[in-house]
Amino acid sequence: MRSISLSLLGLTKQDHAILAVAIKLIDVPGTSLTILPEGVLSGEVILINNDTDAGADYLKKKNPDQTKIFLSEKFMPTPQGSRLLERPVRIHDLVNAFNISCEQFKSSTKKNIKVGSHANISTSPVNTNNTPLLLHEFITACQKNGLIKLECPPYSPLYINGISRSVATRASLPEIHIIAREKDTLPQISPLSAVEEYEQASSNGVNIYPINTIIWHTAMVGANGKILPEHSHDTPVKLKSMPRFPREYMRKHPEYLKMSALLTRKSMTVNQLQQATQLDIKIITDFYNLVYALGLSAIDEKANTAEIYGNNKSKKSGLLSRLAKKLSTTG
């Protein structure tokens, strides 16, 4: 077990409350976080309240071996290798920042830390990328009619407009794939103050995409089995309508139609879909994330999540697979 040391600088009571929750959700196998006592700033990771003088001063210090996570009221440029979380800090973002830091230090040699009270955290396996987080931000923007700036240097920022359901960016679609695929750099998310700011950002010949296009492309990257924040593999959903799958997507994922048909008939969880289809849980999770992000599914709290589904192979399934084989070999 690799123990990674964490220093704290100038945190508020609320920051401590968020930290207490976030630290329990860290999800990197073979690592644990050790919180160092107040005033010991030599941890491999340091969480800094940038809205204090001490925190602002620490921004100027150069320590390439230390990962800095700044909490700040306002967006500001941060040194390379550090992260900024704007207030109000969300637990999910802090967990992600910790996960990335733990992944980075996991294989490195332990620093010689002489002091420390211990808060060892056991963790479960995950190897996630930015896809669930990006999808979550798109959903939030649409649900709240929000205006959000999402940055993942060195790529052009994405300006998300939940009102017009569009995204303005100089980033190309392949670059958006790269942002979604990224595991080590957490995008910085900041609200835009007004529509004018979005319009200003999107006025200089940038690409304007419908948000659904960006959702399709982000979901296409896949989330490696990781479901959307605030959802679980036991969240029951039902489809409101059959998705309008782009043709190339349908050819790539014919199983999505099967799952769509099942979810149009009745509400099911990811786990129940897995029982019913025997598909890889990663495929099912990607499908779940996609249709929810597109607004095609809705959570159905009344559904029976305890019902167990068998792999109901009908007599005709053999015939259908022979037909599929025949169609794929002709033409």
Binding site: R244, L257, A261, T264, L323
Partner: protein, 174 residues
Amino acid sequence: MHIGEHKIVFTGPVGAGKTAAITCLSDAPVIGTDVAATDETLNKKDLTTVAMDYGYIELEDGEFIHLYGTPGQDRFNFMWDILCQGGMGLILLVDATSPDPAADCEFYLGAFDSFIQETGAVIGITRADISDNTRYEEVQDVIIEKGYPIPVLEIDARNEDDVKDLVYALMAVL
């Protein structure tokens, strides 16, 4: 003809592309019952199907999937029940350039309701490339109202890959 064996039924209004779609899939030339159109159909095409179209797909083990196309004019609807007996599923083709494709869709979904409930269906919207883009949404609204899990694809009924996609989609919902 093996009416009692595995079969897929193609239906839809006159000129929606049923004969063309079956021709794309069939291992043998389609047996049609086309006659010269004499009624309002003449506005759409010279020949029209009055009883049915028939083609088939032969599988590796010698088994057949029969492909039946219903006549387009609803005065021949007495044929529809006969053709559906023992069918695997329904492919409904709707012409996007018709005056009201959503109404066409609603009509055929109603007419084949019990067959769809027992099996499954898929909708192909043809000529979508030369029609208003809102057609898809209108057809989708009809389906939502029905509560069916029916995939809708925009296709060219003369294109083999497009028609195969319809069959794949149908297989997914069966």
